[in-house]
Amino acid sequence: MTNRVIHTENLTKFYGKHRGLIDLNFEVRAGEVVGYLGPNGSGKSTTIRLLLDFIRPTKGRAEVFGMDVRAYSVDIRRRVGYLPGELVLYENLTGREMLVHLASLRGGVDWKYAEALAERLELDLSRSIKTLSKGNKQKVGLVQAFMHQPELLLLDEPTSGLDPLMQQEFYLMAREATAEGRTVFLSSHVLAEVERIADRVGIIREGKLVLEEEVATLKAKALRQLEMHFATSVPAEAFTGLPGVRDIRVENGIVHCTIEGSVDALVKAAAQFEVVNITSHEPDLEEIFLAYYTECDNHAE
């Protein structure tokens, strides 16, 4: 259990009558990148703010590093780097002054490392924060979250405002952190991003965790569109009834189908004919996500 970095038990937060988060049971283990996915207002920030003791649970509890988030908040925050979802910095300071101030609130950090991070993100620390673009402010936010090399990074929408090149750099930084055994918990409403860097994903909707899965498993489970071209025309019967295969359409030696899970049986069935080409459309989380949400909506009706 020592590698359990975040652990929640029935964690619930109501804002008046409005439900922020309902009965969250979730775990994050050391060295993982966990993506917390959901539309705006679904409860992502609420979860992170509960972990940091900014807001107090209506019910349930949470632990970080095995310590209760209410009782040991200061000890926890010493080992956490946080990037707020709506980052606001002190406009009257320069980037460097802002970081110096924040570093001193931690009792000092390795300043060379902080400057190296800024350089990596191509951030000019001598500029006044009020003259910085949203993306550049976000970089200041990222540097302050990473600069003390925390064991846990809680990042709320970390790539918002960053250009694609800088997003790549951020993904690298997150990967390097986990390579050193540190843990990244990030929220996002960008599916491609979570798919790209997360090991595991939690999907949250209207305050409820609706799915928690390894990204790899999720993809394996997903429906894929497959298209097989044959040298001659083939009978549809040769493919019907195979495990996981549905929606078969055959036209002039081209077979279209949808497949869930392994393609093994389908490929073996195809091998009895002369195969010219197979194209597979790799599913992305977006499709999984939308499929999931549509399913929820159907159930709801």
């Binding site: 703010r49 980052l87 002190y90 609130l105």
Partner: protein
């Protein structure tokens, strides 16, 4: 200047403090330079005698002669200007301390650092105390410079005591604004409520001696504890100082408790 929250907050106020200082010292020195011509005209005391009592209480307080150094400084500065100045200055600082930072949206980031909420609050409070004291010093120094320049016969020690009385009054209202901001995160509301209470307290204390219905309520006004003992003539009354500082302490405790308990607002 960025090594902790206290110093950073003082640093943030450099510019505004400079302007306040220039304004205050100009106002005070001008006021004092007028004194010699005022003192030579005893007819000003007749104006006071002929003024309706309520009006006199409102603007010159309990002062009975306008031409003595104490009477002049009390009527021109310490009855109305000093307390309102310290009060509004402190309310601005107190309301900004937590609610201001929360409204701007910087409090989340600050509190993600390994600092107890109470520590943040105490440093913010300390910054408010230091700024008010610094302003009081500028205030006192301006009077001292003016008094020496015209050879006014006044005890600078007593001036310091009267100024400190203003500091204590300001602190009580500033801490009230701080506590209001800690309770509900709305800076505007905190300024509004604290200022309204302050102005009401001023009128209550000024009018109580002439309005029978208000008389029993006078001691509810913090201005009573600020000016009643006439610190410029008699020095500070420790009991009255105790009331102002005691209330400040209570309000600070309330601020700590409410701020520790509540949810931060995004």
């Amino acid at each position: 200047m960025l090594s902790n929250i206290l110093l950073k907050n003082l640093r943030d106020q450099r510019k505004s403090f400079m302007w306040w200082s220039i304004g205050i010292s100009a106002l005070i020195i001008l006021t004092i330079l007028f004194y010699p011509s005022f003192a030579d005209s005893p007819e000003f005391d007749d104006i006071l005698d002929n003024m309706p009592e309520a009006l006199a209480k409102l603007f010159v307080g309990a002062v009975s002669d306008l031409t003595s150094p104490e009477g002049y400084l009390n009527s021109q500065l310490f009855v109305l200007l000093v307390p309102l100045l310290f009060m509004f200055f402190a309310i601005a600082r107190g309301s900004g301390a937590i609610a201001g930072e929360e409204e701007k949206g910087t409090l989340d980031l600050l509190l993600s650092y390994p600092l107890k909420r109470s520590r943040v609050l105490i440093e913010k409070f300390a910054a408010m105390v230091v700024t008010i004291l610094a302003m009081a010093f500028v205030f006192w120094l301006s009077i001292a410079v003016g008094a020496v320049a015209i050879g006014m016969d006044i005890s600078l020690w007593r001036v310091a005591e009267a100024t400190l009385s203003g500091v204590f009054l300001g602190l009580a209202f500033g801490t009230l604004a701080l506590a209001l901001g800690c309770a509900n995160s709305n800076r505007g509301l905190s300024i509004g409520v604290a200022s309204a209470l302050g102005v009401a307290a001023y009128f209550l204390n000024a009018l109580a001696p002439v309005v029978d219905a208000l008389e029993p309520l006078q001691k509810l006004s913090l201005f009573y504890y600020y000016i009643e003992a006439d610190p410029l003539s008699n020095g500070l009354d420790l009991g009255h100082v105790g009331v102002l500082l005691g209330l400040t302490g209570i309000l600070l405790s309330v601020a700590l408790v409410t701020f520790n308990r509540r949810d931060l607002v995004t």
